[in-house]
Subunit: 373 residues, 2 copies
């Protein structure tokens, strides 16, 4: 092998990173708690908790570079690793994405528009949020949220304090409700010497806070340029190396930044078949300081997450041109156990095929009513 | 994992099969002599010689199906495995490809045109070959030849007996020299219930008996149909399951079958990026009895083998859209240590990019003079 990359986390993202590495002669070594993790099934694995700084340091000592596949690795653990090998993205960048308030303030400091938000540490803050943002609003725990966890939608004043109690009265952020037209995301990658590549915008459909479908490219030159400028500003500020994803609400013709992920991202899974170079390969190239690959799309792509139940594999493989990606996870309600991608040179035909695919998977089709995630 | 496939052989073909399996939830278990084999680096591995029938049987006992990534596995070893699990392709099909004479006679019995050939067991046969085929002719050992090994070109009568001595006077086959226009190959796959899929013809350039470049699709409807009919006849006769490759000389507007490979094939590596479903995924689907994937091309593709020296990775990755596949082998003169693929919707632009790529790899460009491999 030409190079070794240590990855903190061995979920499906670590698994797909490891698989993208092999053809380039890159061996990934994954660290996570459970030896049955998706990544542990396909790559070298070290069993340890993600908050175990000593384990992270010992991983770092045997690889060329350390990276993460999950943003919830404590920054101190990353700093411990950084004493033995370069860590990309930088610990501070990962830390910024761990706190919804810090993240939004970072966006604001760079002039990146967001939904109006209010910091909520006390019951008094909550009332201020109500006054300033109106209703409905979305109350989110500042830390450790993903896939819709740690969030409550507050539709009327009576629900306000109960919602915060339900979150455990943890430090939170209240955000104004946005009647957005659609959700878009930009996956970008920054390498050594400031080299950058931007994937086209992806249009995403969430349900119950979990991503169901991504379709790319969402072709709008102005929005693409806007999104690239914003992600570029973020990456520069954070001295970033690796893949960064930024999720937006598209409302009234403008982009409002919702959240960022300092890692490869579910809304970029379509790049495996739908782009010249996948987000996984580009992340590895970036953290190793290798030249970045072409992020151009190859036609149009749609990705559908497989949630909960074991997928009907035979039916899926019988649909022409369906690419199946299973993560080796045991089924559990709502759990992401895999995804499917279809690509087509023609967008209209792609969407017809997407309807047939979602029919087989029995996921619901996009809801025509705009909703908050 | 959903399924387990045992693979006899852990070279680069086994490696790419294993990597194609993971996304589908297929775990490959590879058997080969050397634990540093390309496949052993990415998948579960059992160390044993490929002529060890007991090891093959024990591998078979723990998988759903057994297959091969190299045609030189003795048929008896495959039959030993077949007592514990289905073996695809069938042992007799693999055996047919191990003997150049049996192979040519099989072609002839199916009405598949070949170069004129003569069986050579004795010095007397050699003189008959000379009389019947003329000169130059190509003398090939019947068994264990690959990448140009076990072959001698005989250009004049004086070289005749020396060439056979050089081969060790083993059972051989003499073939008439063909001034072909080009070499083409067809990679096909047959699944359960006779389901079949055919990749488009690939045009291949060999040098010193080793494949250097494949470009696909070679677009000629009549030749494509001819090639498909011939491979189809072969697969039916052999009760075949899996990927089968058939190499042709294209001479005087017609296809002459040269040799077959009962496995995934170097001239099909372009399918990873250049076809909807790769030959590796389709081989796994076929041997497991799963529905086959779409074998249609995605634009035009060119594959260049990386031979001998460590490749200039940085320069390769700096070329836009170059897909690098390294096999984890230590460099050695003439050894296939990896390959690169580029794809482009436009064939002319692809060939321009191919020229730039070969320039970086420093392989020679296609020789304009027709030559025998």
């Amino acid at each position: 092998m030409q190079a070794r990359v240590g990855i903190l986390g061995a979920g499906q993202l670590g698994r797909m990173l490891a698989l993208a590495g092999y053809p380039l002669g890159i061996e990934c070594v994954l660290l996570d708690r459970d030896e049955r993790s998706p990544g542990a099934q396909v790559a070298r694995f070290k069993a340890a908790a993600l908050d175990d700084a000593e384990a992270a340091a010992s991983l770092a000592a045997e690889v060329d570079v350390v990276t993460v596949e999950i943003e919830n690795v404590p920054a101190d653990v990353l700093r411990a690793a950084a004493r033995h090998a370069p860590v990309h993205p930088p610990p501070d960048a990962v830390a910024a994405a761990q706190d919804r308030l810090a993240e939004k303030e970072l966006f604001r400091s760079l002039g990146i528009p967001t939904t109006p938000f209010v910091r909520v540490d006390t019951s008094h803050d909550l009332d201020r949020a109500h006054r300033e943002l109106g209703l409905p609003l979305v109350l989110k725990a500042r830390r450790m949220g993903y896939d819709g966890r740690g969030q409550r939608i507050v539709r009327n004043a009576e629900e306000l304090h109960g919602a915060w109690s339900a979150l455990g009265e943890v430090p939170a952020i209240a955000e104004a409700w946005v009647d957005f037209d659609r959700e878009l995301s930009l996956v970008a990658v920054r390498g050594a010497n400031g080299q950058r590549a931007f994937y086209p915008l992806s249009e995403n459909v969430h349900r119950d806070g979990i991503l169901r479908i991504s379709v790319a490219p969402f072709e709008d030159e102005r929005l693409q340029r806007n999104a690239e400028e914003r992600v570029d500003a973020l990456m520069q500020r954070l001295d970033y190396r690796g893949v960064l994803a930024l999720e937006f609400f598209h409302a009234n013709g403008e982009l409002l930044a919702n959240e960022m992920a300092p890692r490869v991202h579910n809304t970029g899974h379509w790049t495996i078949e739908g782009a010249v170079t996948s987000q996984f390969e580009n992340h590895l190239r970036a953290v190793l300081g290798w030249p970045l690959g072409d992020a151009s799309p190859r036609g149009h792509a749609a990705m559908v997450n497989l949630l909960g139940n074991p997928p009907p594999l035979d039916a899926l493989l019988s649909l022409p041109g369906v690419h199946v990606h299973l993560y080796g996870k045991s089924p559990r309600p709502g759990r992401k156990i895999g995804h499917c991608t279809i690509v087509d040179p023609d967008r209209r035909r792609l969407l017809e095929r997407l309807a047939a695919l979602t029919n087989v998977i029995e996921v619901s089709l996009p809801n025509p009513t705009p909703r908050n995630p």
